[in-house]
Subunit: 131 residues, 2 copies
């Protein structure tokens, strides 16, 4: 999927997680990912909006919380998930298809996003090691 | 892009345009398409929600309006655009990449969606002729 040159250079993971622009695109991306996963589960097309609370909880469970400043609210936590998931897509670290598949595997939405965030984090770590 | 078996059989274009389930998934899909197109134009990631008014106007301008019942409101018209755009994606008639490219070409959002709807309509007509 050609996404064009919309990614800037990031110093570290924290900078990605706190990028509001990435979170903006990520919001649209995450909703489509989860809507398609839900459509595949139910067998008919359906649209789902992913709640910020779910994403914030997944950031905590994934362990990514510790990379972020102490005093941030749930909204910023949810944005962090959206930003990282969008980054992984734009950087071709985890494809759209892989992401939908990962999300489809877990019934529970917090669990599903936790697994996706961990997978992205792991692949980004490996990529950085190879540099 | 693997979308799995979420499409049912449709009798005709009108049935596609009036499918609320398709419109539900289409809402998420259209927002991502347009967000990525906007990101590519601006050079940084951004999220955009596509207004129902814009989609309704594009349905009128594209000529698709005449396939729909006379007494429907703007909301149903907007849904029709979302449903058709989602159908084209799920049926591999117009890919995600092609759709983003088409949307990127026009500055004006109504124009952009009008061109996309016409392109989908044309390809579906050709597909049906070949059967």
């Amino acid at each position: 999927m050609s996404k064009g040159p919309v990614l800037k250079e990031y110093k570290n993971l924290e900078e990605i997680l706190l990028d509001k622009n990435l979170a903006g695109l990520g919001d649209a991306y995450v909703n489509l990912l989860y809507s398609l996963a839900a459509s595949q589960r139910s067998g008919y097309p359906t649209g789902v909006k992913v709640n910020n609370r779910i994403l914030a909880e997944a950031v905590r469970k994934s362990g990514l919380r510790k990379l972020l400043p102490r005093r941030i609210d749930r909204h910023v936590l949810g944005n962090a998930a959206e930003a990282l998931i969008a980054f992984a897509w734009l950087a071709d670290t985890v494809t759209f298809e892989d992401s939908v598949e990962i999300l489809s595997e877990k019934q529970d939405s917090v669990e599903a996003f936790t697994v996706l965030l961990r997978e992205i984090w792991e692949r980004l770590d490996k990529r950085d090691e190879q540099r």
